[in-house]
């Protein structure tokens, strides 16, 4: 039986970061309408990321020797929650900061660390993750992109990746590719390579999404020559590394706040229009109450991370429930607003609502579908 999570408090020194971050955001986001801010971690703004880096807020948990701030997981929690609740456009550096940097720190050579981490902290290296392929979504074992060892050393990369967030505006991709064997070998023979996306043979086709944005891409590799140190971690160990990486991906507060700009926008409207009916009160209270328990659970996961544990199961559980709430919030708000069709609703609120209704389904695709997360939980329950 899996243990339930215990309440964890944010240490005072980490909580102390909050006013400074708020001041920064109030200035940087001034005038940005809610429906733009609702994009948050799909909002790409390299300049904003550099400004954050200028404040020392990229690589917050990385060691100082690599340009990081050496702060705790709780500090990172406070920063993330302020950025996401405000709807800051964090997409440019988000993956590098959240996934790539910890991966490089854990599995990289000293020279890889020394090269990439300071650049990530300075917002000079944006990363994307190459996992899905046209014929493999959640089923990563079926990956066909492959890198052959070159005689001169290094690798020759061929194949393609799809649904890669920000590929067309990132500097590097950490790609999961086959370096030996065939798809029949399943998870054996997969490795992670860092691909400089400016190399010859790399071509990128952005894909327009249903909201009219192009946040993901298809990436083609045609005999791309990579140096030997493109390999990150151990050859053939890519599957294990990816799962460790996904645990980072799943444990952050971004699995909670994707609809927070909408909640705030709706709350502002209700207060401004003096709306205080029963349907509104109940929906608002239900949303806030659930956000509160999920936030507490997310903090408990952060504590486990801070203690050096790998709370993969707990992270999967919090993520699955968190994305479900994120997806449910637009629906609850649509119900509350739709209760009173004669009341005029500001366009900004309707745009924000419509955007999140449409993008909501993607919240449970990133980092493992619902079925996969529930499979992880079922394993934790001893059922498989």
């Amino acid at each position: 039986m899996i243990e339930t999570l215990e309440l964890a408090a944010i240490p005072a020194e980490d909580e102390a970061l909050r006013p400074e971050i708020r001041g920064f955001l109030a200035e940087k986001l001034r005038g940005l309408p809610a429906d733009r801010r609702a994009r948050s971690w799909l909002g790409f703004d390299a300049e904003f990321s550099r400004a954050l880096a200028g404040r020392g807020w990229l690589g917050l948990t990385l060691p100082a020797e690599y340009g990081g701030a050496g702060r705790s997981q709780f500090a990172r929690f406070v920063l993330s929650e302020e950025l996401l609740a405000a709807g800051a456009p964090v997409s440019a550096h988000w993956i590098a900061d959240r996934q790539s940097a910890p991966l490089i720190l854990k599995y990289g050579t000293e020279s890889q660390r020394g090269f990439y981490l300071p650049r990530i902290c300075r917002a000079e290296a944006f990363f994307c993750i190459g996992m899905s392929e046209p014929n493999s979504g959640s089923d990563l074992a079926s990956i066909r992109s492959n890198a052959q060892p070159r005689e001169a050393g290094g690798w020759l990369l061929n194949g393609s990746k799809i649904w890669t967030t920000n590929a067309h505006r990132s500097h590097y991709m950490i790609a999961l590719v086959r370096t030996s064997g065939s798809p029949a070998d399943r998870h054996q023979g997969l490795s992670q390579l860092i691909v400089d996306l400016s190399l010859p043979g790399v071509s990128i086709r952005p894909i327009t999404d249903l909201a009219g944005d192009a946040h993901f891409s298809e990436v083609f590799f045609d005999n791309v020559e990579l140096a030997a140190d493109a390999l990150i971690g151990q050859e053939g160990n890519g599957w294990q590394q990816v799962n460790a990486e996904l645990a980072f991906e799943r444990s952050g507060p971004e699995r909670l706040y994707s609809s927070m700009v909408l909640v705030q926008c709706w709350l502002d409207y209700c207060r401004g229009a003096k709306i205080d009916d029963d349907a509104t009160r109940t929906a608002l209270g239900a949303i806030l109450a659930h956000l509160s328990t999920l936030r507490a659970m997310s903090l408990a996961v952060a504590r486990k991370l801070a203690q050096g544990q790998s709370p993969a199961l707990e992270a999967a559980l919090v993520k699955d429930m968190g994305t479900e709430l994120e997806q449910r919030i637009p629906d609850l708000i649509a119900q509350a607003l739709g209760r009173f069709p004669d009341r005029p609703v500001p366009s900004e609120l309707l745009r924000t609502l419509a955007y999140l209704e449409q993008m909501g389904p993607s919240f449970s695709l990133r980092g493992g579908t619902r079925e996969i997360l529930r499979g992880i939980i079922a394993r934790g329950l001893g059922l498989r």
Partner: protein, 343 residues
Amino acid sequence: MDSLFGDAARRLLAETFAPQVLDMAERGELPGQAWQTVEESGFLDALVPEQSGGAGLRLPDVLPLALEAGACGIGMPLVQTLLARAWLDAAGQAHPDGPIALAAFGVAAGDEHIEARAVPGALAAQWVLAAAGDDVLLLSAQDAVRTRTEGHGNLDADLRWPAGAGTRFSCSGAASGADKAGAILAAMQAAACSALMAGAMQRVLVLTTEYAGQRTQFGKPIGRFQAIQQQLSVMAEYVWDAHMAAQLAFQSEGWRPQLMLAALGKARTSSAAPIVADIAHAVHGAIGITEEYALQRCTRRLREWRRAAGAETYWAGLIGADALAAECSALDYIRQSLSAVIA
């Protein structure tokens, strides 16, 4: 019910409103050619009496057309135009050419301005039939100051005219309740949205089952996984239920939707819409989020039509209030107020 009319209407809409045509409308340009084709087909006058030059059909007869408009994801107010023309004829008014949007809620006729908020499909309309207090106004959509209400691909708009604009139909003579002008327009919009949603959901079910049968993961089509099968079964249930709700919303001896049946239709289809859309996207994964794949237009419309003219909460509330005020049993209320079969 698979009448000749239904078959012909379905074929015409599917041919006329190709994705490129719908894209054009979503960019805010009226697809004049497509509209002209439909106009010439006579379908737009289906509900207008024969003596006024229409086909004199009853509401249930045009359900196949409305379902197909939903299945195609047509955002312009086509079904609404059929209803609006019948309304105008009943009011003794010849109808103008071009698409007519309905503004059943959110209209404020003040001393300086007439304002209509979040009018469904207004960006693709030439006219707006609006309920303002006891009266109804026929306004030129293109003369209005129009502000797009929502985001990408949406056709709703806030509209503003100077006071006194348009043609005013005084309806204050009408009795109370369901016969009030506002209630009639609301029932028209609710019935239209019911059928549009039911049609869109059927399309979404087809797209999703086909995709689940083709897409392979872990060595077999994803439709073979029990978790996916269970979700698709639930989706099918909601789609069937929505189809039944739309049929009920379209039961009428004439052209005019009955208020409580329209309420039932809008309440049920609006409840189903987000569930169906969410399952469809969950099964499709990333490809469902792309603009080029057909799913997104249907699901976007589902969410728009669900929010248009009151969500399920409003319409269920209306039914609940009516049932509380009635004196019959729950079963009889269902049998008498929420059921009908027009032979």
